[in-house]
């Protein structure tokens, strides 16, 4: 595809693509790639808090687990949370935004009011409240993230639908007798698709950061699950000696989020140069 070729020519985007590919590989092939796969659940106290060396490439944590291996399995968690939470938010928010943007009635008003309420607070604040109430578990993290993220999509798609609605080709479609559903799905949706795709990619990175923050605060999946944010939290009491304990998971987060950001930026440049002007963070 021509788009793919152009994307690859952008070196930054290519780097992003490679990073994400590595992430997926790490998650899928965690077993064969890891050196101590059993350390995901087992404890090995005699070997706790060892610095990186030939055996333990990123050192060991407070339970003696090999950090490198735990990171690899943590990648599974990261992908799972990012993909599910973001997809759920998109799958709820986009249709809501489409409908609210297409019609101009009280339902549409109500939908946007609700979105505005959620958007009135930074995502993590509400996510904390929800995750705290539900308890530390991976499904609760995903739920908290999805519930607090869909309004962003609803707002975005609403605004774009509103502006596209005035375009001549939409008027033409309606004049030709297309049903509202048809217009929304076959005409409006494709013209906002590139914007959605770009922000979904960047949104994955953002979701990972919020998920890590929840994990850091103790609201994520409980130990011994190798969630990257929690690992950083665990490391704190062993600093400054066990610096690798904090550095490794954080670097992993940095790398992965950067990958999504780079890819998203590249997609933006390729799919619609006009979007380049609109440089929103998420």
């Amino acid at each position: 595809m021509n788009t793919l070729r152009r994307l690859i020519r952008d070196r930054a985007a290519l780097l992003g693509l490679i990073i994400i590919a590595l992430l997926i590989l790490a998650a899928v092939f965690a077993y064969p790639l890891s050196t101590f796969p059993q350390d995901v659940t087992n404890y090995d106290p005699p070997h706790r808090l060892l610095p990186p060396d030939g055996t333990y490439w990123f050192g060991t944590d407070r339970m003696g687990g090999d950090i490198y291996s735990r990171l690899l399995f943590g990648a599974r968690l990261t992908i799972l949370i990012a993909v599910v939470a973001t997809s759920a938010a998109v799958l709820i928010g986009v249709p809501v935004g489409l409908v609210a943007g297409y019609y101009t009635n009280r339902v549409s008003d109500l939908l946007m009011r609700v979105s505005d309420i959620f958007l009135a607070v930074p995502q993590i604040v509400l996510a904390i409240a929800i995750a705290q109430t539900l308890g530390p578990a991976i499904q609760n993290v995903i739920l908290a993230l999805s519930v607090t993220y869909w309004p962003f999509w609803a707002r975005l798609v609403y605004a774009e639908t509103r502006s596209v609605k005035n375009e001549v080709f939409i008027e033409a479609a309606i004049a030709l007798g297309a049903s509202p559903l048809r217009v929304m799905v076959l005409h409006v949706l494709p013209s906002i698709a590139s914007s959605v795709i770009v922000r979904t990619t960047i949104g994955m990175g953002g979701t990972i950061l919020v998920a890590a923050a929840l994990g850091f605060l103790g609201l994520g999946p409980p130990p011994p699950t190798p969630e990257w944010g929690r690992m950083i939290a665990e490391s704190r009491e062993f600093l400054p000696q066990a610096w690798w304990y904090a550095a490794a998971p954080g670097a992993a987060i940095l790398l992965v989020v950067m990958g999504f950001n780079l890819l998203g930026d590249g997609l933006r440049d390729v799919l619609d140069p006009r979007l380049r002007r609109d440089v929103s963070a998420r």
């Binding site: 009135a120 607070v121 993590i124 409240a129 705290q132 109430t133 919020v210 600093l239 550095a247 987060i253």
Partner: protein
């Protein structure tokens, strides 16, 4: 009460009642006799049907009563107000630093597009936005406090702060002419401010850079250049104006990220502000406190966005 705020109260109330829990039992303690629990339940109106409870909650919130913290045993509202200046000082310093460094950096990067500086700036900003704030905080703490010993590890000040006038340690110390305390306050501020400022600065640089590039390719800049007006003049007068107005628009967005990051950053540095209050409340399962915090942040956020909207309308002649 504005509708958005009301909606927020509703959501917060709903969240706190998702899981069937019994705050009365929590308050009374594990081994309390049932009569005591029932008495507490009645005292706090927890035996009323939900809509009634909600109505009471709305009334309470409207009068500033957000319940009592289960942990501190003080009104949540009091706790929040007491901790507000610390977070405010942090946020203000961070945003100021981010703007003061970020805007010029963004302008320079745009003007020297694709130069080495531009590339370095882009790498730094992309990294800054990809870093977990709490991780950056820990890293800075590790390097500057633990290894280099330049800054304190945690806290807002050693001992007591200056006698409060504004609640800002730096300002109060200055106003009282207490240079030593001022210096100390700065030392303690350094790392938390740096941690919060970096992602904010990254966003500002990106937006400013994009905005300047946009303006540079606009017709009126072309016209000025075609008519031979010196480039540096065009940049200084027209481009900076547009850039600064653009920055104002971003403050609303940046502020949200700032608050979000403040929660974890305050936790890492044990900074006695709203963020660490939230974190401690989480660890203590202090529902009232968490909900109060959520409402409070929501209200502040709405206020800030409103202010930004007004300021924008004032500054842009087209809006009038």
């Amino acid at each position: 009460m504005p509708p958005t705020l009301f909606g927020l109260v509703l959501i917060v109330f709903a969240i706190s009642h998702i899981v069937p829990s019994d705050p009365a039992r929590v308050m009374a303690g594990e081994n309390a006799p049932p009569e005591q629990v029932a008495a507490l339940r009645h005292q706090y109106g927890l035996d009323l049907p939900l809509p009634w409870q909600f109505a009471h909650y709305v009334q309470d919130v409207a009068t500033g009563n957000m319940g009592t913290s289960l942990f501190t045993q003080r009104p949540v509202a009091e706790d929040l107000v007491e901790r507000l200046p610390a977070t405010f000082e942090l946020a203000l310093c961070a945003i100021t630093l981010a703007i003061v460094i970020g805007v010029p950096l963004g302008v320079v990067a745009a003007l020297s597009r694709n130069s080495l500086l531009d590339h370095v700036v882009r790498i730094v900003t992309i990294s800054g936005l990809a870093m977990a704030a709490f991780w950056l905080a820990i890293l800075l703490q590790l390097v500057f406090s633990m290894w280099l010993g330049l800054t304190p590890v945690q806290g807002r000040i050693d001992g007591w702060g200056p006698d409060p006038i504004t609640g800002f340690y730096t300002l109060d110390a200055l106003l009282r002419g207490d240079w030593q305390t001022f210096g100390e306050a700065l030392r303690y501020l350094a790392l938390p401010v740096a941690t919060l400022a970096l992602p904010a600065m990254a966003t500002i640089v990106r937006f400013t850079r994009a905005g300047v590039l946009n303006v540079m390719s606009s017709n009126f800049v072309f016209y000025q250049m075609a008519m031979g007006i010196p480039r540096r003049r065009v940049v200084w007068k027209y481009i900076l104006r547009s850039a600064l107005i653009g920055t104002l628009t971003q403050i609303g967005l940046i502020f949200g990220t700032l608050i979000a990051n403040a929660v974890v950053v305050e936790a890492v540095f044990d900074w006695p502000g709203l963020g660490s209050f939230a974190v401690h409340s989480i660890l203590q399962s202090d529902y009232n406190a968490i909900m109060g915090f959520t409402l409070f942040v929501g209200a502040v956020f709405i206020l800030v966005n409103l202010t930004v909207d007004v300021a924008q309308a004032v500054l842009d002649p087209r809006a009038q």
